[in-house]
């Protein structure tokens, strides 16, 4: 897993609530047996129509917006457990997703792939959307160590929560398998005692 410490980037506003993982990566693209290539199909049915024409209305296709931060509406990542959604977002180039609420499995999948799910208050999110939409050049600064999200050249700043263990993993690029393997003897002892 890639290490994550700080990031400065513009952001793409995807002002829609309850974005499910079927939208992030439709089921027909789940037939691959490796983790490559999902980025090109991220939000496929929102980015393109059925004939493959670009949907100009969609935020990701709007040339005004760019960057490795996705700002999304409440309850992002609900639905299917498919980790392919996290692979699609990282494959597309996102390193951070900001929302006021993340579905549990998606949140875990994101953290396991070095994609930071950054939860902010509904009020902060609303301000963020309005700012990015009017000033797409706005830079956001994510500092994982300090657990802060700062909007450059403004007074806007917020603290975000993250599980301390997951924070350590992201900063150091560790994954859970390394930790679990270090616990093998305890696991065997647990099995014996049952």
């Amino acid at each position: 897993m890639e290490k994550f410490t700080t990031l400065q980037s513009t952001a793409i506003p995807l002002d829609i609530e309850n974005i499910d993982t079927d939208q992030i990566i439709p089921a027909r693209f789940l037939k691959a047996t490796d983790k490559q290539g999902f980025g090109e199909n991220a939000f496929r049915d929102w980015r393109f129509d059925k004939s493959g024409n670009i949907n100009k209305e969609f935020a990701l296709n709007n040339p005004k917006y760019s960057g490795s931060i996705l700002v999304s509406g409440n309850n992002f990542g609900c639905g299917s457990s498919r980790e392919h959604a996290a692979w699609a977002l990282t494959g597309y180039g996102f390193k951070v997703v900001i929302s006021s609420f993340f579905a549990d499995i998606f949140k875990g999948n994101a953290l396991n792939n070095g994609l930071l799910p950054l939860q902010v208050s509904k009020a902060f999110l609303k301000e963020l959307f309005s700012l990015i939409k009017t000033h797409p050049e706005t830079k956001l600064i994510v500092d994982l160590k300090a657990q802060t999200l700062t909007i450059k050249n403004t007074d806007l700043k917020t603290h975000f929560d993250i599980d301390p263990y997951k924070k350590t993993c992201m900063i150091n690029g560790y994954d859970d398998i390394d930790y679990l393997l270090s616990k093998k003897e305890a696991i065997k002892a647990f099995e014996m005692a049952r």
Binding site: C78, S81, E83, Y165, Y179
Partner: protein, 466 residues
Amino acid sequence: MGKTLFDKVWDAHVVDSIENGPQVLYIDKHLIHEVTSPQAFNELEERNIPIFRPNQIVATADHNTPTQNQHLPVKDALSRNQLKQLANNCKKNNITLYGLGHKYNGIVHVMAPELGITQPGMTMVCGDSHTSTHGAFGAIAFGIGTSQVAQVFASQCLLLSKPKSLRVTVNGSLKPGVLPKDVILYIISKIGTNAGTGYFCEYAGNVFENMSMEGRMTVCNMSIEMGARGGMIAPDDTTFAYIKNREFAPKGNDFENKVAYWKTLPTDTDAVFDKEYEFDATDIEPMVTYGTNPGMGIKINAPIPNISDASFEKSLKYMDFKKGDYMLDKAINYVFIGSCTNSRIEDFRVAAKYIKGKQKAPNVTAWLVPGSKQVETQIENEGLKTIFENAGFELRQPGCSACLAMNDDKIPEGEYCVSTSNRNFEGRQGQGARTILASPLVAAATAVEGKIVDITKTFNLEKELI
């Protein structure tokens, strides 16, 4: 303070705890299928890590298997490759696989309970969010991502922070024609799609106590649709009777000893939940969804609500419905009875009771897809196949089918499908498809009438159904 059912099962599986961090939770059963396992197998192979406990893993082929001509090679090359990789990976690692054509093959959440693999007090995981289904037996069962599939492969454990507890209580008598699917669609419509996020849910009250195991599985299956990682129902005599004598259930004295343990699992009377909801069964009617998430459900004879919100309006635009519209009398061209929510024998029995002696409307394509080979056999043995075929329904072979459209069973763009599956997301049943979630009874009635009808009015439910 007393413990909840969830506390009791969770606490019995904690191997270790990280200070201010997650716990190491031991997993009893790991279910796998072709879609979310290949990358996990690859990862272990790349890192040269062996599968730690292959005999606690059970594999099936379900998500992209065809529902016709299963004896022939799978036509779609990518699906065929995924199924082949699953078979190779299982063989290489000594993992039991119920592949296509095997008498135990079926949707992972249908075949594991019917084989007695699912038991109370267990921890169970699968790379599939509807693993919550198995909570119907009083197990902690939840969906995981592929990285976690790899973790369980490597260690039979997961690193997890203990979720908060939620209880949904429904007491009272359900009206005739109100099925378990209606109960869960009603609950989600009331509390919303993220009310359960961060929580594990227990369903309590006499409505669930009186429910069959099939019904309880339908309810627990959709726990993820309100955001909960899983749902649970306390094991009781109904649970024990269901498990007894199944293929992998404990036998003889072992079974009695297990039952004695399982009886200690229900939530203590003085246990406290972090969040509680209570509903009255008499308020529940047959339900349908009108939008693009499972929380957008209404009573079948109610109008679509008037909500001013961009996401809500986007959803109605996709469905081509208007605020204030009624779902009744909407013409429907596709009906799908299947998926891990409603493809068990009970679902086909209730559909057959309605359909018997009637004919499918000519404008409707109706797919009936059993959840497993065993359900398929039951359908034949109980004479339901004849009822369905005489009525013009198409009985297919087991699999996930048109629930998520990974195989050929896709609903065409713009068409409406009344579906017993669990998700009405945009494009879920095929690009541009419009899904209306409902019970198997409402789905059967829709297929016969060619439109959505109020079954409580068109059908003498008490006389004809019970």
